[in-house]
Each structure stands twice: as structure tokens, then as C-alpha cells.
Amino acid sequence: MIDAGTFEITILYDLSPKVMISADNQIILDEQLMGAGERTIIIPCQTTRTRLYITEKQNATVVENGRIVKDQMIRIVGARHQGLTFDERHFVDYCKPHLHHNDSIMPTNYLGYNFPSYLEFNNVNLADALINFTVS
């Protein structure tokens, strides 16, 4: 749980996903992100768990010559807290996000499926995540 300071995550998105983000039981974002781009979201203090959903899928896939070349998606590419910055690799290694899809759970920072599948991670102080990784 983050008990002090501002915790931010940065997500990349493509093909205008309708994104909902919950911090424990509180919805902190429910918005269609247009086109493709990057967004930084502040997760409130005292949050234990964050979940990301794509709630609607329309025009979710671009197919060319029978091949999928683009897909509607969101991907967590970084986090920042109290002066520490995790890039995508460090976020995946230290914060261990995972995807809940059907009955399976798999480690990833990428969500391409729509509701009710979701991406989830437990909120930890990045400092603690670093220390735990170092001493484990």
C-alpha cells in the first residue's frame, strides 16, 4: 500500500480504448482515450490494489491483408513515486503486474482483452519494491 507521496503510473494506449481504472473499490478513471498516446494517472494514497479494464471494444482491430497489424490495447510502461522512476522493465520485474483473463492469471503489463478481463497490480512503495528485490 502506498501510504505517502504521489504514486503515478504511465500507460500507453492505442485505437481509442475505453479505459476504466479502479483503486481498490474506487473508480478513478472511466474515459475513452482517443487515438493512440500516453497518459499518466495518479493513484491515490492508501490504495492497496489497482485494476485496469478496457470496458468496450469497438473497431478494436486493424487488419491488413488478413493480418492483424494493430489492436486496441493499454500497456503500463512506467511508474513514479517519491523520486524513484521505474521504466517498463523495472515495473514488470518489481511490481509484478498480471492479467486476469477467463480463469487464468499471467504476468504481464499489457491488456488487449475487454471487460471483464483486467490488468492488476498491488501498490507498493517503489522503494520497498527495490529493497525487496535486492534482498530476496
Binding site: G83, L84, N125, A127, D128, I131, V135
Partner: protein, 468 residues
């Protein structure tokens, strides 16, 4: 605003030689600076506990199930005085202390976020073999935000520039001097301050039974090395060999003697005897000074390089013994074939002669260092270590031994001979040796040496650990 210098845990209970020099530079620049000795606090709290071996493994391996809550409590109490707006510099002397750096700097960010400036410097900031601005580890810490500035190489100019620039510089700073920088002598105030340090002059040998009551200073004579041994990182780290005039060194020793409490001089030189003539002159001047000032009680220590036996005179051995010098010697192997590949420039006959002459003149060898698992070391080469047994069976002046497995430095001649992932540097291998072979050979040689020297085997540099 205060500048805090953190001595992170290292291989033994000593100050890094650089931390005093950084303090000196900062005091010279009229900065308010204090040393926090986390190394000693960790040693003090855990040395006589069952946790000590695990904590030492943490330093060596970087990941171990240490008693994290207790360790954090100790560190937390040490860093409590640090306030927002302060500057913190950690001394990362060895590659092993990087794990401690990660923990301490993470805790500092947790406490103060970006309201403090974090920096680091020291030999451990670069992997052996990296030079100049190259430091993957520094890049990692800066990108994560664990530090704001990293000092690579020498700090005598970069530190001054940073302070005089109002601490605004960020990123990697690098400097390598080509002659000894004009640091001058440590001022009296730094030698006598009792409020923030544990000792008047750092007690470098607190846990070494041989030097328990001694107080020492580190004095430079040379830096760098004139050889290019294939496994060594010294010639990468300090590509320019520099040497002071012996007269200047004696003047500095005299200064510390007059400041009081001096009983031991530790030379951090890698090759104090790079120049036979200058080393002899240093010993002669020091011997003369000792008699003039009635300081025959003083001792000194340094690393020392073996050379072909014809290059050493009896006078040198006599002076080392008379001036009460203790030398640590990297013999590194016994096989002439391996020694030649290492570019040691001497052979087994020279090693035998050296040990015998030290014994004859009573020159103490505090540590004899041997390597196993060198990339060209065949079974036959390793079996040649049995040549040591009759040598050690005779009375000799070697107080302890250290057997190390060979590591591979980046950009060294050995790198192209092995398969190595520098993210897992201990797992390198080639057709001749692999990790298992190296550790088996270390165990065998440890056992053989221990049979001849049971009281003095050092598994690490900590004397007490090896006696358990």
C-alpha cells in the same frame, strides 16, 4: 544544508580511503559535512550474531535472506539526522556494497523524495574493466532516481566544480588525474573531531586481533600499476600510474605524527614497489625519520608486487622488516604456465625465493593471495599447487592466505576467452573451467592451506568469522 558522507558496509570494519579525502575536499570548501558510518553500525550490531554470515553473503551476492527488518531499523536510526534539503554522498567502495547502496538510497527516497540530493562515488561504481564515463551501474541508478549524480574516477576537481556550482550538476562526472592532485594533508580538525566519528583517527583494524589498539591513517605514495596482469582491474581503473616524491610522503607522515595518536600507516597503493629505487628511497627516508622522532613503534602496511628475485636487494627486505612493514602479496598462482599467461613477469622460483627471503629477514606477509579457476588453468596446472605444501611446511612469515576464484573483467584480455553474461558474472565458463570447477578447486586449496595454517585462514577479510 549539510552534506552527509555515508560509509556503506564493505568487506571489513574500515573506512574507505576515499571518504576521508572527500571530507577533506568539502571542509576545504567550507561545507558542513558529517560522516555516517553505516558499515560500522551494521558490523557492531550483527558481527557476533548468527545473522552475520548471511549479512556478509548479502554484500557479496546482492540477494540473500537477511534479517531485513532489523537491518532497516539500524539504517533508519543512522539516517535519522538527514533532513530535507541536505546532500547525501555514498561511498561505494566495492561492487559488493552496491546492494547496500540500493537499500539505503531507497530508504532515503522513501523519507525525503526529491527533497534531498543523492550522489555516490567510489571504485564500486564501475564494474572491473569499465573506464572513463562507462558505468552501466551508474546509468541504472541515475535512470531509477536512486542517485542524482555519480562521481567516477577522481573527485578532486569534479567535487569542487559540483560544490562551487551550487550542487546543480547531474549525471555522471568523470576525471582522471595524471599527477597526484594537490590535496595537501588532512587538517588537524579532521583528525581530532570526536563528535561524529567513532575514533580520533579511524581504527582500521578494530576486529583484527593483530592491530586492536592501533590508530592509522592512509597515506598515498603511488596510484595505479605499471603491470597489466590479465585478470586485474587496476590498470583499467587507474590507467595513469602516478607516484609522489618519497620526501613528500615523509612530510605527510610527519604531519600526522605531530597531530597525535598515530600508530599505523596504511598505504592504499596497489604497487608500492613499482619503482625499486623510489621504494627503497621511501624506506630509507622513513627509517631515518623514525629514529629522529623516536617512532620505532610505528607500523605500516601495503600491497606489494613480487618481481624476479634478482630485482630485490637484501637491503629492501631489511628495511621493510626494520620499519615494521606488513605486506600483502598477490602471488596469484604457482604454475609457470599460468603465471606467464597472467603476465605476472615472474615464476614459481621467484615466489619461492621471495617467501624464503621474507622468512630470513622476518618480513611479515599479512595476506598471501592465490587464484584458482583461471581460464587457462588445466587440471595439471591446478595440481601444481601441491608445490606449496613443502614451502608452507617450513617456518614462514605468511600470517594468512586468501584463495579467490578468478573473475573476468570487461575489456580485459580474458573476456574474449570465455563465455560470460556480465549480468551473472560469476557464471562464466570456457572449455577449460566452469563455475563448479572453480569452487571445487577453491575448496581443495583452502583445505590444503588450512592444514598448514589453521589459525589464520581468512574466508573473507574478517578474522573472527574464520575462527567459527
Amino acid at each position: 544544508m549539510t552534506i552527509w558522507l555515508l560509509q556503506l558496509p564493505r568487506l571489513d570494519d574500515t573506512f574507505s580511503w576515499g571518504i576521508k579525502e572527500i571530507e577533506h575536499i568539502l571542509v576545504d570548501l567550507k561545507q558542513s559535512v558529517h560522516i555516517i558510518d553505516i558499515n560500522h553500525a551494521i558490523t557492531d550490531h550483527f558481527h557476533d550474531t548468527p545473522h552475520w554470515n548471511t549479512i556478509e553473503d548479502y554484500g557479496i551476492v546482492g540477494q540473500a535472506p537477511i534479517p531485513i527488518h532489523q537491518v532497516r531499523d539500524v539504517i533508519d536510526s543512522m539516517i535519522k539526522p538527514i533532513q530535507p534539503g541536505d546532500v547525501v554522498l555514498s561511498c561505494v567502495f566495492t561492487v559488493e556494497s552496491r546492494s547496500w547502496f540500493t537499500m539505503v538510497h531507497s530508504m532515503l527516497r522513501q523519507l525525503h523524495g526529491t527533497d534531498i540530493i543523492l550522489g555516490a562515488g567510489g571504485q564500486g561504481c564501475r564494474a572491473p574493466g569499465e573506464s572513463g564515463f562507462t558505468s552501466e551501474w551508474a546509468d541504472w541508478t541515475l535512470s531509477l532516481g536512486l542517485s542524482d549524480i555519480m562521481f567516477l574516477g577522481e573527485t578532486v576537481t569534479t567535487m569542487r566544480d559540483w560544490v562551487e556550482g551550487g550542487y546543480t550538476a547531474r549525471g555522471k562526472q568523470y576525471h582522471q588525474h595524471t599527477e597526484f592532485p594537490p590535496l595537501g594533508h588532512l587538517p588537524h580538525s579532521l583528525l581530532q573531531d570526536k563528535t561524529t566519528r567513532r575514533h580520533d583517527i579511524p581504527n582500521y583494524y578494530h576486529y583484527d586481533y593483530r592491530h586492536q589498539d592501533e590508530r592509522g591513517v592512509k597515506v598515498h605514495f603511488t596510484q595505479g600499476c605499471v603491470k597489466q596482469c590479465t585478470f586485474c582491474d587496476v590498470w583499467h581503473t587507474w590507467p595513469q600510474f602516478v607516484m609522489r616524491e618519497p620526501r613528500e610522503v615523509i612530510e605527510e607522515i610527519d604531519h600526522y605524527h605531530r597531530s597525535g595518536n598515530l600508530s599505523h600507516i596504511s598505504f592504499p597503493d596497489n604497487t608500492i614497489n613499482a619503482s625499486n629505487s623510489k621504494f627503497l628511497e621511501l624506506l630509507q627516508r622513513f627509517d631515518e625519520w623514525r629514529h629522529t622522532n623516536h617512532r620505532q613503534d610505528l607500523t605500516w602496511s601495503s600491497q606489494f608486487a613480487v618481481k624476479p628475485q634478482s630485482q630485490f636487494t637484501d637491503e629492501m627486505f631489511e628495511l621493510i622488516a626494520r620499519t615494521r612493514g606488513h605486506i600483502s602479496v598477490g602471488f596469484d598462482h604457482v604454475s609457470d604456465r599460468v603465471l606467464a599467461h597472467m603476465k605476472k613477469l615472474y615464476g614459481w622460483q621467484d615466489i619461492q625465493s621471495f617467501i624464503a627471503r621474507c622468512s630470513q629477514h622476518d618480513v611479515k606477509i599479512s595476506v598471501a593471495i592465490w587464484l584458482v579457476g583461471y581460464p587457462t588453468e588445466t587440471d595439471q596446472d591446478f595440481e601444481e599447487y601441491t608445490k606449496l605444501e613443502p614451502v608452507l611446511a617450513k617456518p614462514n612469515t605468511i600470517l594468512s592466505h586468501n584463495v579467490s576464484v578468478t573473475t573476468i573483467n570487461r575489456n580485459s584480455p580474458l573476456e574474449s576467452m570465455v563465455t560470460i553474461d556480465h549480468g551473472q558474472p560469476n557464471d562464466w565458463h570456457n572449455d577449460t573451467v566452469d563455475k563448479q570447477t572453480r569452487w571445487q578447486r577453491k575448496a581443495i586449496l583452502d583445505q590444503m592451506i588450512r592444514q598448514h595454517n589453521p589459525s589464520y585462514m581468512l574466508d573473507r577479510s574478517t578474522q573472527v568469522r574464520s575462527s567459527r
